[in-house]
């Protein structure tokens, strides 16, 4: 049976408005980009684990990005964490070429993208949208040719799909639906990492319900990365 692995928190540091939590990397499987882990601070008052994107840093440590203003923000104060992962389905990168792949990140959704450049063997372009200028510091985690869009400007207005054959999105549900629609209209393949409240990560709690293919599905089992055409049906 797969079990949670307890790891020591090596440090936390501010990355603009976000917090980067670094943990000991030995024995941790971060999976493929888009997969997630359930992270529990056993010393905190919060009872449930939180779904987080985890990625490996160049020095071998494993890290996760958390938002102090969000439910997962409490992990920023942890001295140790129990990680269960990797879970779910990540991006299908078999057809991804750096020159023709575009990453589209909305806010903390960027946390599932740092592993993409290494996985596809080069630097893709990235559009990253944030509400606050201080949140844009998170783009340093992704080795990409990055353009930042700050609210109230729309990332969709900056979306340029010429020469793009694959879009990998990650972010709020509304943005991912809009991105799916734009890609469908342009005939560009698109995969999106969705967000939903999640209590367990292995299909037990039924908390992470989303609409896929016009029906309710558990995001932890079907996603979090799904082919964007499955959203278009739901709309």
């Amino acid at each position: 049976m797969r079990e949670p692995v307890e790891v020591a928190v090596l440090g936390t540091e501010a990355l603009g408005a976000y917090t980067l939590v670094r943990v000991a990397g030995a024995g941790i499987d971060v999976g493929s980009p888009g997969q997630f882990a359930m992270a529990l601070d056993p010393d905190a008052a919060g009872y449930l684990a939180r779904p987080v994107g985890v990625f490996r840093l160049e020095d071998g440590e494993v890290a996760m990005l958390v938002d102090p203003a969000h439910r997962v923000g409490g992990l920023g104060g942890a001295r140790r964490l129990r990680l269960l992962g990797p879970l779910g389905h990540g991006y299908d990168l078999t057809a991804a070429e750096p020159a023709s792949t575009l990453l589209v990140a909305g806010g903390i959704g960027i946390t599932v993208l740092p592993g993409v450049p290494l996985a596809i063997g080069g630097r893709p372009r990235m559009l990253a949208a944030f509400r606050l200028p201080t949140q844009a510091a998170a783009t340093a985690l992704v080795d990409a040719d990055t353009r930042v869009v700050l609210a109230p400007a729309s990332v969709l207005d900056a979306l340029e799909l010429a020469a793009i054959t694959l879009v990998l999105g990650a972010g709020p549900t509304g943005l991912m639906h809009a991105l799916a629609e734009r890609c469908a209209a342009a005939g560009v393949a698109c995969q999106v990492a969705l967000e939903a409240p999640m209590g367990c990560g292995f299909g037990a709690c039924y908390g992470c319900a989303v609409e896929l293919d016009g029906a309710t599905a558990r995001l932890c089992l079907e996603g979090p990365v799904v082919d964007a055409r499955r959203l278009a049906v739901a709309r």
């Binding site: 049976m1 009872y47 684990a49 879970l87 409240p197 209590g199 037990a204 039924y206 908390g207 319900a209």
Partner: protein, 290 residues
């Protein structure tokens, strides 16, 4: 060995209904039962249900609220597809099928359909879900209705019957007594308690449904009180449910009178909870000790 409602179990730790999908657990974690002595299914209704709108869960102080709304495929797909695959996953572990309905006749019909189906070891009547508009708790909060539904199901099947009750009732002993009078072999105490998380800016529920069910450690004292009261009043097997997340908390419910315990929300937090408690309660016999 634990004897519960006539079922011989290896140990007294089960999963709570609706907190473990055996098929998904097998696929994701490599263990369908997570160590439970019997597998209790998610409550199945006569017809397919989509469940409640999102958001469905919210964390509370020390626990959680849920408004899942009992999504499921309906009894026909359950018998034809879900149950056979569940049996394959759980192996020899007994399967207790939880059933729910919007009327007494729904429960009667479900029991009739499940009676004789291979692999069904027992039925648990969910008379206590707080997250649906009709049936379940509206039956299980009424003594006469609880008696009637249990009696009707008892007349339909010889399978062991468990009746799961809510802590959000005025007299849990009277309801448990009605279940026993109706032919229940055990009562499950308790389901989640009715609760609410509210948005200050809108005055509306945080969850997609109008309220939610409170679970985790905050439920434990309510479950203990229910188990103790029913144990004192009635000689019936009891499955204690509510905030069980350790040997100590399982032992509390057993000491209060539970025959067995079921783990729910704690499994979300740590999927090894059931197996850890089971191992502590019934350590494997060593070769030297045989």
């Amino acid at each position: 060995m634990t004897l519960l409602a006539g079922l011989r179990l290896d140990h007294p730790v089960l999963n709570a209904s609706g907190t473990l999908d055996a098929i998904a657990a097998r696929d994701v974690l490599g263990d369908a039962t997570l160590g439970a002595a019997a597998h209790v299914t998610k409550t199945i209704f006569p017809d397919a249900r989509p469940g409640n709108p999102s958001p469905r869960i919210a964390e509370t102080a020390g626990g959680m609220l849920n408004s899942i709304g009992l999504p499921g495929p309906g009894i026909a797909a359950f018998i034809d597809d879900v149950l056979p695959r569940t049996r394959t996953c759980v192996g020899v572990t007994p399967v207790i099928v939880s059933i729910g309905g919007e009327s007494v006749s729904d429960y009667e019909r479900l029991a009739a359909l499940l009676d004789g189906v291979p692999g069904v070891a027992a039925l648990e009547l969910n008379l206590s879900c707080p997250n649906i508009e009709s049936g379940c708790i509206s039956i299980g909060a009424d003594v006469a209705e609880t008696l009637l539904v249990t009696r009707r199901v008892r007349a339909t099947t010889a399978l062991p019957l468990l009746v799961k009750l809510s802590p959000s009732v005025s007299d849990i002993v009277a309801l448990a007594a009605a279940a026993v009078d109706g032919g229940a072999d055990a009562v499950t105490l308790t389901n989640t308690a009715r609760g609410l998380a509210v948005r200050v800016d809108t005055g509306r529920s945080v969850l997609g449904g109008p309220g939610g069910g409170l679970s985790g450690p905050p439920l434990r004292p309510l479950a203990l009180a229910a188990v103790y009261a029913v144990r004192v009043a009635l000689g019936v097997d009891i499955v204690g449910v509510g905030g069980v997340d350790s040997l100590a908390t399982a032992a509390e419910l057993l000491a209060a009178g539970a025959t067995a315990v079921a783990v729910g929300t704690a499994t979300f937090r740590d999927p090894t909870t059931i197996s850890r408690i089971a191992a502590a309660l019934a350590p494997p016999t060593s070769i030297e000790a045989r």
